[in-house]
């Protein structure tokens, strides 16, 4: 449930979350050209981490949990447990679209998208299960 005490911050939340998604797309394009670039991996990890934190803060638990899945995936790459491969970029782009859709719903009617199924599905596709 969205936090009612924070409605005045909704515009700032939507604006900054969309900026993070725009930066994610830009960084992902660059990472596909240089998949070993650890600086880009860290930046993508950091952006998903920020999106997760913002969503939890605003009370959008589902969207926060979905962002956490992507944060966990890039944390594993950052910490050297797996390597990034550009073949995965379609899944990452799809995840960004899911977050965009949830933000659009939040903007329109104040309620986030139900992402329970997507969280499980993306965890499987990213090898996190």
């Amino acid at each position: 449930m969205p936090n009612p005490d924070l409605t005045t911050y909704k515009t700032l939340y939507l604006q900054t979350a969309r900026e993070h998604l725009r930066d994610l797309k830009k960084d992902l394009t660059l990472l596909n050209q240089t998949p070993q670039d650890q600086h880009l991996v860290y930046e993508i990890f950091r952006l998903f981490h920020s999106l997760k934190s913002q969503n939890y803060f605003m009370g959008f638990q589902n969207t926060g949990n979905f962002c956490k899945t992507l944060e966990t995936y890039f944390r594993k790459i950052k910490d050297g447990f797996t390597a990034y491969h550009p073949a995965v970029s379609n899944i990452i782009i799809e995840s960004i679209v899911q977050i965009e859709n949830s933000l659009n719903m939040i903007e329109k009617n104040g309620l986030e998208k139900d992402l329970h199924f997507e969280i499980s599905s993306f965890e499987k596709r990213l090898g996190l299960q």
Binding site: Y13, T16, F45, H49, K52, Y56, F57
Partner: protein, 121 residues
Amino acid sequence: MKLILVEDDVFFRKFYVEKLKEKGFEIEEADDGEQGLEKIRSFKPDLVLLDIIMPKKDGFEVLKDMQADSSLKDIPVLVFSTLGQETDVAKAKKLGATDYVNKSLFDFNQLLEKINTLTKK
């Protein structure tokens, strides 16, 4: 009371700076660890609110640099963490952080209590 908030996310920075100013704190802000360290040196705050995951220099590096500087090592540091960062918090404490708050929980009173406790001389 002088505070500095080192936090890369403009959303959290704006929110917490506004709320803490309303409570009468003098507050500086920095959007990455490198700038944060510079401002900690020049502003000499009574307490540092420190995010961990940041560009240029992360919170761990800021803590290491503070511990290595005799003029900064005694300034209390409250880590601004979020859900799922338990390991990061433990590491930050080993590196000299005093305590932590979960910035995603919107428990402003808890933050004020911790600030007051940590700045009591």
